[in-house]
Symmetry: C2
Subunit: 137 residues, 2 copies
């Protein structure tokens, strides 16, 4: 391994209730922090998934801390690590609650990816780490 | 730790040359893959930072694999893990090449964050992992 680890990745969603219902309720991620009307953060192993309402973060200023503004529109992308057996279980759980599977295929190196949309339309992927890291599941 | 690990986080940039000059040239991240006019991927410890040209990924279809489209406009956000001493070194390296430090402060729990912009205007942060994970540096 080389390079610094990713500590936080960000997605954007205007409907934070829908984001919580999906990431916590369906995917089972632990909610670390929620600020009403601004953001909701989830634990992903050793990192944090940040889901921001861009209408809040684009204009943040004047708070107690000088947190710089940011905020994107359109479909972002996040990929979570999963073994092949875990991808089977994610697929079953998603289909059980009526979430469409957008794609499920193997890359040229044999690693499998499963794609779906979060409620805000972001492209969420579950992929076998051997997509990028030889010798992993 | 709980929840699946983040395998890939994504940012968007129309100028992939500038992204490579910054993430590889200044930050020293290893380039894993570059597809001209489409994307450039970097290794971040056990995960991958994906930088996509949204003009390419918004319209991807008809390729050999059914990779779903995505693409965002506006400033995204990514945070990389760093100890306090590493943040000092990042700050010195950034200032040495003329990149402005946008903020450098401590959160209420004492963890330090350093903020700057990548060439596309994305908000990049270096933060001490104890911001979220007790007992870490």
């Amino acid at each position: 391994m080389s390079g610094p680890a990713i500590l936080e990745a960000a997605l954007y969603a205007e409907d934070l209730d829908a984001a919580e219902a999906f990431y916590a309720g369906v995917l089972g991620l632990e909610v670390v922090l929620r600020k009403e009307g601004a953001h909701i953060f989830f634990r992903c192993a050793g990192a944090i998934l940040l889901v921001f309402d861009p209408r809040a973060t684009e204009n943040q200023s004047g708070g107690a801390l000088p947190v710089p503004p940011h905020g994107a529109q359109g479909a972002g992308h996040l990929c979570l690590a999963a073994s092949g057996a875990e991808i089977d279980r994610w697929r079953a759980r998603l289909e059980a609650v009526g979430i469409a599977i957008e794609a499920d295929f193997r890359w040229p190196n044999g690693a499998r990816s499963l794609y779906l949309r979060d409620p805000a339309g972001n492209s969420l992927e579950f992929a076998e780490p051997r997509l990028w890291f030889d010798g992993k599941d």
